[in-house]
Subunit: 129 residues, 2 copies
């Protein structure tokens, strides 16, 4: 599977999970290529809305460009939602990370697998009332 | 242009318009083919959220199946948003119609061009504060 197909398969997996617990969730068309800022998925339990960038990696750290995080936060603010990241490291479940929990370096943002396992929420924790 | 391409071009046109007035707006991936209910576009001015089915027609009436409307309302309720339709008839601007303004027939929903021109909101009216 190409990196892009793996990304889309990952998004579809999350969308199944959200609907499985009764949340509404959609995959955004053209995310990453649209001229307008747009997250990968939007999920809602009716009260809280979440705009989420999803990533799958086999590395022990995941980097995000400043532009990527700025764009996610900008969209979240305009839309009226919370900006989150959902990352699947090798042999971890999906971990939900608030943008606040990323470490800012001189020119990008990063979170390690260990930090994500400590600070991140599992899908069950993330969707618990 | 095929009917599908015309539909997507129409959605893109609306998305440009929404961003143009400072609203956040996305096109939903796989809308109409996904196994989960999903609208064509989702738009928000931060406070109010709208889930919208978009249609372009050269007919003088636009029909919607009961399933289509039920699915839009179901998604809207789960997501916490208002269900709307945006219809472009021949030589009209986009007209925004609340699902409440459709007429229910024995087995579907319908709105005529004349009714849409009377009851519908133009883009400017729809996005006015």
């Amino acid at each position: 599977m190409s990196r892009k197909s793996r990304g889309i398969a990952g998004e579809r997996d999350l969308i199944h999970k959200f609907w499985g617990v009764g949340w509404a969730c959609v995959r955004v068309a053209g995310s990453g290529s649209s001229q307008f800022p747009s997250p990968d998925i939007i999920a809602s339990n009716n009260l809280r809305k979440f705009v989420i960038e999803t990533k799958i990696t086999r590395d022990n750290k995941k980097y995000f460009s400043s532009k990527e995080i700025r764009s996610l936060k900008f969209f979240a603010e305009k839309f009226g939602a919370e900006p989150w990241l959902s990352i699947k490291f090798f042999q971890t479940p999906w971990l939900f990370i608030s943008t606040e929990d990323l470490r800012e370096t001189s020119n990008n943002f990063v979170i390690s697998k260990e930090e994500a396992l400590t600070k991140g929420l599992t899908f069950e924790e993330f969707t618990k009332d």
